[in-house]
Amino acid sequence: MSKVYSGASLALAELMRDDMTIMAGGFGLCGIPSALIGAIKLTGVTGLTVISNNCGVDGIGLGVLLEAGQIRKMISSYVGENKLFAEQYLSGKLEVEFSPQGTLAERIRAGGAGIPAFFTKTGVGTIVAEGKEVREFDGESYVMERGLTADVALVHAWKGDAEGNLIYRKTARNFNPVVATAGKVTVAEVEHMAEIGELESDQIHTPGIFVSRIVHVPNPVKHIEQVRTRKRELAGAN
C-alpha cells in the first residue's frame, strides 16, 4: 500500500467531488501546495469550501480555483491581495467566513487533534464573537471557537519520504503542519523525496500517520509577494 503517487493529478484521483471541503497550507504565496491546487483545477470540481489563511493572488495559488469559479466559500483570515476575490464576493458568488489568523490556526489544530471547541481571548468584543458563546474564566472573557476539519487537506513540504514523514523549510512551514493533521485524507507535495531513514527521526515536523498520499514536485516555481531588500553598501547599518 504505497503512499507515493507519480503526479499531482494521480495523487488526487477519486478524492475530489463537488461541494466538498478542502484545506490548504501556506501563508500568502509561501509554502502553498501549488501543484495540487493546479490538479484540483483540472478536476473541474465546483462548489468548494476552502479553508486556508489566504486565497492566493490573481492567477497564483488558490487564485487559480477562484478564477475558475470552483470556490463557493472561503474560510480565511485575510484575502486582501486578490482583486477577483472582491468581485466575486461583492456579486454574491462567493461566501466568506473570516477567522482571526491565530484562531484559524488553532481551529485547524483542534480539528486535527479531536477537539471540537476551545476558548480564546481573541475577538472578544468584536464582530468575530457575535453569535458565539462568550464565557468568563478567572475574571477574563473568552469566546468559544470550533475546530475545523476537511475532506481533503493539501500541504507543501520541503522534504518527504514514502512513509509520509515531512520536513518543512523556514517560514514555508506556517499553516502546513496543522493542515496536515486536519484532513480526512491529507495529500502532500514535496520538493525532495528522501529515502526511508534519510530524514532524522528527531527532526520530522509531520509524522507520516497524517499523510495518506505524497507526490514529488521538484523545483517548483515560488512567488514572492513583497520583495524587500537592502543595498549591499548598507551592510552593517541595519
Binding site: 485575510y78 482571526p100 488553532e106 472578544v124 468584536t126 520541503w158 517560514t171 515560488k222
Partner: protein, 218 residues
C-alpha cells in the same frame, strides 16, 4: 512641526527593553527595528512562524521560503527558530510576547482599537491583528494623529473593533498618550512632539484626556 515617521518610530523604540520579545506591525512599526538601542538585545517575532527576524536580504539573496507576516522577504539570524503558525500564535495568545507595536485607524479613550476594516469597503480580513492585541502583554499603537483632518483618538471607536480595551500607549505625530486597560477609562497625554502645543493636540483629539505632561517631565 509634528514628528516625522522616523521620529515616531524612534519614540516607539523607547518602549523596548533589554531581553524583550517583540512583534512589529507593518509600516512605521517595522521601522522601529532600525532604532533598537545599541547593546540592547531585542528579539523580533513574526507570527507566521519565526523568532529572530533579521534585516531585509541583500539584493539577489531573497528567499521565497523566508518572509515575515507582512509577506516581505527577510533574513534569518544565527539564533532564529522556525515553527508553525499555530505555535506562532500560541506564543502570542499565551502572553509570551512582551510588546507589539502596530498601526491603527482609531483608538478610543478606553483603549478600544479599530484597525482592520471599514464597513462598506471591501473587507480584506483581520489577519493576525485581533490575536496580537488580545494576546501580547503590552500594545503600543503608532499612528498619524488625524486621517484626512479627522481625529483618530476618539471617545468611542466608530469602526468595527479589533479588540476591546487593548491599547496601552498611543504614539502619534503630535504626542504620546498612555491608556488604562483596566478600571475606569483614562487617557493621559505624557509627551508632546517638538513644537506641538497642548492647545493644538487638544483641538485635534476627540477623546477626553488628562494632562500628564508635568508628571512625565518630573
Amino acid at each position: 512641526m509634528a514628528w516625522t515617521r522616523e521620529q515616531m518610530a524612534q519614540r516607539a523604540a523607547r518602549e523596548l527593553r533589554d531581553g524583550f520579545y517583540v512583534n512589529l506591525g507593518i509600516g512605521i512599526p517595522t521601522m522601529v527595528a532600525n532604532y533598537i538601542p545599541g547593546g540592547m538585545s531585542v528579539c523580533l517575532q513574526s507570527e507566521n512562524g519565526m523568532l529572530g527576524v533579521g534585516p531585509f536580504p541583500y539584493e539577489g539573496e531573497e528567499d521565497a521560503d523566508l518572509i515575515n507576516a507582512g509577506k516581505q522577504t527577510i533574513t534569518a539570524l544565527p539564533m532564529t527558530s522556525f515553527f508553525s503558525s499555530a505555535d506562532g500564535f500560541g506564543m502570542i495568545r499565551g502572553g509570551h510576547i512582551d510588546l507589539t507595536i502596530l498601526g491603527s485607524m482609531q483608538v478610543a479613550r478606553n483603549g478600544d482599537l479599530a484597525n482592520w476594516t471599514i464597513p462598506g469597503k471591501m473587507i480584506k480580513g483581520m489577519g493576525g491583528a485581533m490575536d496580537l492585541v488580545a494576546g501580547v502583554k503590552r500594545v503600543v499603537v503608532v499612528m498619524e494623529h488625524e486621517a484626512k483632518g479627522e481625529p483618530k483618538l476618539l471617545e468611542q471607536c466608530t469602526l468595527p473593533l479589533t479588540g476591546q480595551r487593548v491599547a496601552d500607549m498611543v504614539i502619534t505625530d503630535l504626542g504620546v498618550f498612555t491608556v488604562a486597560r483596566k478600571g475606569e477609562a483614562k487617557l493621559t497625554l505624557i509627551a508632546l512632539a517638538d513644537g506641538v502645543t497642548l492647545d493644538e493636540i487638544t483641538a485635534k483629539t476627540a477623546a477626553k484626556f488628562e494632562n500628564g505632561l508635568d508628571r512625565a517631565a518630573a
